[in-house]
Amino acid sequence: MNMAIDEAVAEGLRDGVSPPTVRFYSWSPGAVSIGCFQSAREEVDVDTCARLGVDVIRRRTGGGAVYHDPDGEITYSVIAPEATFGNDIHTSYRLICGYIIDALGHLGIPSEFRPINDITVGGKKISGSAQTRRGGVFLQHGTLLLSFDAERMSLLRPSPAKLSARSARGVEDLLTSVRSYRSASRDEVLDALRKGLRPLGEMRDAGLTIEERARANELALSYDDDAWTFFR
């Protein structure tokens, strides 16, 4: 449903009926989202996901597979007119990731931007993001890891080429989380994210219109369709 809501808001903005929006959300039940160009069966242990009740969702954005733990991460999305961020995709990743880095700074966690679309702490990824631009609308969504469940992360099957590029044996060598550095409640992290993203200016950050909800319900059907999830 989360991807459907992002898409419904982006459509609404394109059609002039939705405002620029920042969303913060979690996934319940837990889910693995894969990039729109990835192969679900190659990237995800889909049988174990089914056994554990973990959804597998194909995003409309590129990028890699992500495990979204109900309690272990916050997902953000920024939906705004494309003109707000300019034409350069790399620059806009750097800009928005910079706001997330500021948010981590508010929590006392020094982090760095790792091009193209990641934020790292001590060389390990704590936040990743993915961006699309359609119909004059910019959408970037990304995650911030609050905690790390190694067992659930093993639902992901990163390519050996990807692991060896970072001298990693498994996902646990690639990732870190806020709570690896300090205790922090979800609300505390949300506050920090809101502060970090404040330079975006006036953005709706809560609530959806009835029309957005209705369109999201409609779009959710296509996200739930195995023909979409497993088409690659």
Binding site: G35, S39, E42, I89, P115, Q131, T132, A161, A165
Partner: protein
């Protein structure tokens, strides 16, 4: 794609993972890269199935230019290198 499928992959330095499978006259690209617009991929794959790996990088770059495709985390030369690996 079934029998006769050939596969290659590369992690682009400073970029993304790109995998290519080819067989039965089709080419499929997968990975954690970004293409804008996203729905340009099927057309790109059909184009790749129609060209030979000789001088493929410039042909892919020209195709992307003609069709307004932006590649993030990979480039025409990466796709061309994979094409050279999977073409018989």
């Amino acid at each position: 794609m079934g029998e006769g499928v050939r596969r290659a992959e590369r992690k682009v330095p400073g970029g993304k993972l790109v995998q290519m499978t080819a067989g039965g006259g089709k080419v499929r690209l997968t990975g954690d890269f970004f293409l804008h617009p996203e729905d340009s991929l099927p057309g790109l794959e059909a184009f790749l199935a129609s060209i030979h790996s000789d001088d493929a990088a410039s042909a892919i770059a020209a195709y992307a230019e003609r069709n307004g495709i932006r590649m993030i985390g990979l480039g025409p030369e990466d796709i061309a290198a994979l094409l050279a690996e999977v073409q018989p």
